[in-house]
């Protein structure tokens, strides 16, 4: 499977992704095996409010990058239902035009309620696509949950999409997303009100950014009339070319990743230990009957788990 995926066989690549995403036995060995051959892909994160046109925009620029000769991978993340654990993943609807492009591979991914694990799982999928020869990987997530923001923040380049008419669009941009954006796109500029949003965002950036050089560009686009798409492509290609020449692994990213793997592994270790240890029932009873408190119990459990 690994060998076939390396040759960019679509089916093998897809199966490899499932294996790792499902955390099937041996998934970590796969990741270990391919790690050395990764790190050259350029990761573009696209986030923004629901319905702002992220998928439409991704479809548009992925096609153009594809035409320029890049092999593209797209990861489209949508939330899982907290009730059933199932999901309806619909981003592909907007990517119809590129769904049969030879050098574009699209994968939908559900958040699966993974405690902070989404970020790592998405990172793993990026890495597999990287290994399978994708020059550029694009990740789309809705900019609402903390997890999802974390996913894009691990990318090399972050595109933040807003649009006129989406309520208080600018106010709605979450703190934390604003800071990580490398470019602001005001989409649906075929509608009234795009200019107002552009100036509001620019004003906000002027206030919060120290040096003029660091102020990210704010542009208007329309995936309907194609206005502004050229400009967007220009800025994006410039970045991609820079990245192609630049550093591969950045120390900070690597540190983050190790921490993130550690966190998820620790949490699941703790959970395993606790469930094999009577599922905290004894401790909970103590708290409920007023004989102990959640803080002491947590301290106690950490001591026990760390002792293994």
């Amino acid at each position: 499977m690994i060998e076939a995926a390396r040759k960019s066989n679509e089916r093998a690549l897809a199966k490899l992704i499932s294996h790792v995403e499902d955390r099937k036995p041996g998934w970590k060995d796969i990741m270990k095996a391919i790690y050395a051959e990764t790190g050259r892909t350029c990761v573009i994160g696209v986030t923004g409010s629901p319905g702002s046109g992220k998928s439409s925009l991704v479809s548009e620029f992925a096609k153009q990058l594809g035409d320029m000769g890049y092999a593209i991978g797209i990861i489209a993340v949508d939330p899982s239902s907290p009730f059933s654990g199932g999901a309806v993943l619909g981003d592909r609807i907007r990517m119809r035009d590129i769904s049969t492009y030879k050098n574009i591979f699209i994968r939908s991914m559900a958040t699966r309620g993974m405690l902070g694990g989404l970020c790592q799982a998405a990172r793993d999928v990026v890495r597999i696509m990287d290994f399978a020869g994708r020059d550029i990987v694009i990740i789309e997530t809705v900019g609402v949950g903390q997890d999802e923001i974390e996913v894009v923040s691990a990318s090399d380049y972050v595109v933040l999409v807003t649009y006129p008419g989406g309520g208080d669009s600018v106010q709605a941009i979450k703190a934390g997303v604003m800071e990580i954006a490398d470019i602001f796109v005001v989409n649906k500029c075929d509608r009234d009100g795009a200019d107002v949003i552009v100036s509001e965002i620019s004003a906000m950036l002027d206030l919060s950014t120290e040096t003029v050089e660091k102020i990210p560009p704010v542009i208007k686009t329309s995936t309907f009339t194609k206005e502004g798409i050229d400009k967007f492509m220009e800025i994006l290609s410039e970045f991609i070319q820079k990245k192609e020449k630049g550093l591969h692994f950045q120390e900070e990213h690597v540190r983050q990743e190790v921490m993130s793997i550690l966190e998820t592994e620790m949490v699941s270790l703790i959970k395993e230990k606790i469930s094999s240890d009577g599922n905290m029932e004894k401790e909970l009873k103590l708290i409920l009957s007023g004989k102990s408190d959640p803080y002491s119990v947590a301290d106690e459990l950490i001591k026990r788990v760390a002792g293994i």
Binding site: R11, R92, R96
Partner: protein
């Protein structure tokens, strides 16, 4: 870290027929059965459906066709899957399917045909049984 496997289903409407009710109901229903449903919307070509099924590594494709073109469309999709080595993907067909066409579809390798009045629970059960998965 524990295994977290989900049944993945592609719900697709091939052809130009725009009656989405059945597809929507099945997509929501299977989501509530805990499946991950990839919904690709209207007007999918057989090539798009095959390509989505491969890239998304789905276990099942649920086709919804009400235009009467079910035989030719399904045939193309089955052939496309085979060509990509993905003929282990289960294919089900829903829509207005006359009794005599059901058999033809089954002969093509379709795992289940669902017409008006079918229950989501039955669709889900059939998928679970055929896949031998309980996720």
């Amino acid at each position: 870290m524990g295994q977290d496997s989900k049944i993945r289903v592609l719900v697709a409407k091939p052809g130009l027929d725009g009656h989405e009710r059945g597809a929507h109901v099945v997509a929501y229903g299977l989501r509530d059965e805990g499946f991950e449903v990839i919904y690709t919307g209207l007007r999918q070509t057989p090539e798009q459906i095959v390509s989505a099924a491969v890239q998304e590594d789905v276990d099942v494709i649920g086709l919804s066709i009400l235009s009467g073109a079910h035989l030719s469309l399904t045939k193309k999709i089955m052939e496309g899957l085979k060509a990509k080595g993905a003929n282990d993907v289960l294919v089900t067909v829903g829509g207005v399917i006359p009794e005599e066409d059901k058999k033809t579809l089954e002969e093509m390798g379709v795992a289940g045909v669902f017409t008006s009045g079918s229950k989501i629970k039955d669709i889900a059960a059939l998928i679970r049984t055929k896949l031998g998965k309980n996720a």
